[in-house]
């Protein structure tokens, strides 16, 4: 009986996986209809008036990178799961320009399957951030998380340096590109290198920590902080990261903190596996032994000096 049940379970699982794979393949095939034009930098069509073939450049914002999409979180989706079915015709109807786009919370909010990501809390945090308070509706999730390419990485075993590079590229996408930056403001984009001139070993900081480590308020209930703070509230005190109770444990290394803080070994073993943060990587015993030895040296000097004074008087 047990044997029969095991076989049935294997069959059911295989059927389920096969169904999912089939659906993904079917969607991918369906998406090819869109990607035939939107998957490349140019597209061709026949002018129905003249009957001649026309080649045009695709507007860069509407190009979907096939390989990036295939690796993204939404890879198994059909284009029309989020976009109107009316895109099926060409030329696309003009009213589709007014199509209202979904926000993350529209699909992920209140869904048990995504409960662990706490989208509602992320939304609240985002609403309190400068991105939202300064730009209201103009700033949406897609500004940072491109739905066609975004893939989750904080909740993975990827190397910290890769996570840092991926996440910082999201910020720099606007903060290092005047054209994109000025979509929301008439201000001149501040020069990031100059603004962070005060930071010792600037290049190392940029490679090893994310912008949000200093620019977002930490939150215990969500993994990645979304409450971006005004510049006056950015972290400037070195010890917030460079100490045993490092802020990085609540931000960058939050997911990987499994070893906890071991009093006996090195502090912040997780940080030590992938980086080196002066002040945060310390050995408890080394600190203790050094203090004991300094005390011994001081006591030795004190005793020796006292004896010399006593003997001199005699």
């Amino acid at each position: 009986m047990q044997y029969l049940m095991a076989v049935m379970l294997i069959i059911l699982t295989s059927v389920s996986i096969k169904a999912q794979t089939d659906k993904k393949a079917e969607n991918a095939k369906y998406n090819e209809k869109c990607l035939k034009c939107h998957g490349q930098s140019k597209y061709k069509y026949t002018n129905s008036e003249t009957g001649s073939d026309v080649t045009k450049r695709m507007y860069i914002e509407t190009i979907i990178n096939r390989s990036q999409f295939a690796e993204s979180n939404h890879k198994s989706f059909k284009c029309t799961d989020c976009h109107s079915e009316d895109y099926d015709t060409f030329p696309h109807p003009g009213r589709l320009r007014m199509e209202i786009k979904y926000a993350c919370i529209d699909c992920h909010g209140g869904d048990e399957k995504y409960a662990k990501f706490k989208f509602e809390k992320i939304e609240t945090e985002f609403q309190a951030s400068v991105h939202s308070t300064k730009h209201s509706e103009d700033f949406n999730c897609w500004m940072c998380h491109n739905p066609h390419t975004y893939k989750i990485n904080a909740r993975s075993d990827e190397k910290i340096k890769d996570i840092v590079a991926y996440d910082n590229a999201i910020c720099l996408n606007c903060h290092a590109d005047i054209t994109k930056y000025q979509m929301l403001t008439d201000k001149v984009n501040p020069n990031i290198i100059q603004k962070h001139q005060w930071l010792p070993n600037q290049a190392l900081h940029f490679k090893n920590v994310r912008c949000i480590e200093c620019h977002a308020r930490t939150n215990d209930s969500i993994l990645v902080a979304h409450n971006i703070q005004p510049k006056a509230k950015a972290v400037r005190r070195c010890v917030e990261c460079h100490s045993t109770n490092s802020r990085l444990m609540e931000t960058l290394y939050k997911y990987k903190v499994r070893e906890g803080r071991s009093k006996a070994g090195f502090y912040n073993g997780v940080i030590m596996n992938e980086g080196y943060v002066i002040g945060a990587n310390r050995n408890y015993y080394l600190g203790l032994i050094s203090i004991i030895m300094f005390c011994c040296v001081a006591a030795g000097i004190l005793i020796h000096a006292s004896l010399r004074i006593i003997k001199r008087k005699k």
Binding site: A203, V239, I278, G279, I301, H304
Partner: protein, 173 residues
């Protein structure tokens, strides 16, 4: 930097780091002057250790410091024109100036420019090993410094050894 704690900041971290960096650079410059002087002048001869009978001589000097000094015994190895240091002094100076301080300087510069140090050293992080050596040897150099300054006070008078550092002449007991 070793004992930094945000709740109890003895010294602001960025100030501590800057002071540490400047001190390291000054120490390097000073060490180069010392090395130049040792190589180019006859002063270097005082650092030539004679290994034969070294341990008994070290014990003799150590015994003087721990007991003899309180009994006002004569110094076992008086300062002469050819022997500026007693055996214990010579041994610790050679260890400090030719082993410990160079290690602190090299590992210190490696930490100042971490991108040039091997990122991986054996199985761990090169920086971690480098830092570990820098800190431990740094402690020993600090212990040496405290004892060294204290021993300066045991000359003929409290300040006579400090005077010798400037004038170059030793005042006998």
């Amino acid at each position: 930097m070793q004992y930094t704690n945000p709740a109890n900041p003895f010294i602001r971290f960025d100030i501590a780091v800057t002071m540490h960096n400047i001190s390291g650079m000054l120490l390097t410059a000073n060490y180069l002057v010392f090395l130049f002087g040792t190589i180019t002048t006859p002063n270097g001869r005082f650092y030539k250790l004679t290994l034969k009978g070294l341990i008994p001589r070290l014990i003799k000097q150590f015994t003087y410091y721990t007991f003899g000094i309180f009994k006002h015994e004569p110094v076992p190895f008086p300062v002469t024109k050819d022997s500026k240091f007693n055996p214990l002094q010579q041994f610790t100076y050679v260890a400090a100036m030719f082993v410990l301080v160079p290690i602190v300087i090299i590992t210190g510069w490696a930490l100042l420019y971490p991108e040039v140090v091997l990122t991986k050293f054996i199985s761990g992080s090169g920086l971690r090993v480098n830092d570990f050596i820098h800190v431990i040897i740094g402690f020993f150099v600090s212990f040496f410094m405290f004892v060294h300054i204290y021993f300066c006070t045991i000359g003929a008078t409290f300040v006579s050894n400090f005077k010798s550092m400037i004038t170059g002449f030793h005042e006998s007991h």
